[in-house]
Symmetry: C2
Subunit: 284 residues, 2 copies
């Protein structure tokens, strides 16, 4: 397999995700390199043998050694990096990313990228509510879905390579979706749920209720602890999809509200029966 | 303590909650009796030594032995039971319940109850998404809050007795709230969260997304598997509070929607910062 013959893996952006990728690659014996502007991240990763080589600057001789590059940057930073430094890449390599939205990223990157390097986008649906390489953990991938989102510009070889990357990480299931399909899926299962959790927290001052919450409230609001820089960017990049999902959900909450206002017990029960049936599909 | 000297505990309604109470009482050495119209529930509980005595009918000689009675019935059934059978009670006993809403139950019961029996309402904030004495488990109380909701009619002695009941169950924290305070709290932390989980399930056909959901979606929708008979009744009995909570939440979702539509990144970030800060209060 193409992937196995590659030896130098470069990770650009050594935070929680970048560090978790690094740990998975080290486990498989790859030579792992990383670039991050934070000196303490590189030092921590070197000291803890999470990476073999690191740099706080983007240098041609460093980038040029990589047989594979993984971008774990915020989307806008990622685009700028490609513009500024793509001439440093070795030729005929594959590069990929970890970005949580696809349509707003994939086509732009593929448009500006030099023709002898192939960008095949992917999204490991894994994360934690903490940040930084210090909290990185390659076990987050073990129960996760790994989504490869090729466009018409991608080769079969790159799609296969990227799928094998998901297997190296240890992901449970590897799927191929178009960027559009991916963004519609993520708008519902991830972005809408984050908006809901945030809105539940911000809709009222709830501090006096801290002593009375049970596990269901805590489970539902776990994701209300949120990285505002990353998620606001992800929301904006998937704006049209997310607005549609929010509108559908708000309308459904309104329907539930009206059923209760009318004291329509049968109508509420009918909704709850549908909910119970659908939720059954999602049990692991 | 008054509670310790009582010996015969009668549980009316031997489902998940009633059975879990029975197990906790047995652990402390009480003589546990139960009434349930389902023969198989009584038989199961006797065979598995969850109770010492059981009956599928309400008989004076059986009810009259009880030094304490716990009602684990649906609210409307509970009220009818008191009307029909309260003359069977031994005099000078305390009775309590497990009902998830209070204002719509407590005053009605206290109004109709004979003067030599005291009803002190309580709510163990514990449960599971499964039903029946077969699934009962007294460990559900170990991390739970136990709320005692006295009215002006209740005596200090009854409030203390009911608080000690929470300790017998093993609840983590025992609180005293007025029925109104209880219902406002439960409207937000429990009922609103259930409406949200249901609406997320019913707002669109999501079966094709089953393969792509992660833990956060599953956590958020765990309570979307819901007992429609019980919850629709609880919603209706707390209608005014729940409508207010739903309106506040729907308005906040609308605000988030407008921030996104306007591409107001700073406004979204501000909401997320508040959310993160508030969610921090709820960590155990």
């Amino acid at each position: 397999m193409e992937w196995i013959s590659k030896s130098n893996v470069l990770i650009v952006g050594l935070g929680l995700m970048g560090g978790s990728y690094a740990k998975a690659f080290k486990r498989f014996g790859y030579h792992v390199m990383a670039i991050d502007k934070k000196k303490e991240s590189i030092e921590f990763a070197l000291e803890n043998k999470i990476i073999d080589e690191g740099s706080t600057e983007v240098k041609k001789e460093f980038v040029g050694k990589a047989d594979t590059v993984i971008f774990a940057l915020y989307p806008e930073v990622f685009k700028k990096w490609i513009k500024d430094y793509q001439n440093f890449f070795k030729k005929d390599i594959f590069i990929t990313d970890v970005t949580g939205v696809k349509s707003a990223v994939v086509y732009d990157i593929q448009d500006i990228l030099r023709p002898d390097v192939e960008f095949i986008a992917s999204h490991p649906m894994a994360g934690r509510e903490v940040y930084g390489v210090q909290n990185s953990d390659d076990r987050i991938f073990l129960n996760a879905n790994f989504i490869v989102t090729p466009t018409e510009k991608n080769t079969k070889k790159a799609i296969e390579w990227c799928s094998s990357l998901g297997r190296v990480l240890g992901c449970r299931k590897i799927s191929i979706l178009s960027p559009k399909e991916h963004d519609e899926m993520i708008g519902y299962v991830s972005q809408l749920t984050h908006v809901i959790a945030v809105s539940l927290m911000t809709c009222k001052d709830n501090r006096h209720l801290v002593d009375y919450t049970g596990d269901s409230f805590r489970d539902l609001t776990r994701i209300a602890r949120i990285n505002e820089k990353m998620w606001s960017e992800l929301f904006l990049m998937n704006k049209d999809v997310l607005l549609k999902e929010m509108d559908e959900f708000i309308a459904e909450m309104g329907t539930m509200r009206d059923l209760l206002a009318k004291e329509d017990a049968e109508g509420m029960k009918e909704k709850m029966k549908i909910s119970t049936k659908r939720r059954g599909w999602f049990d692991k």
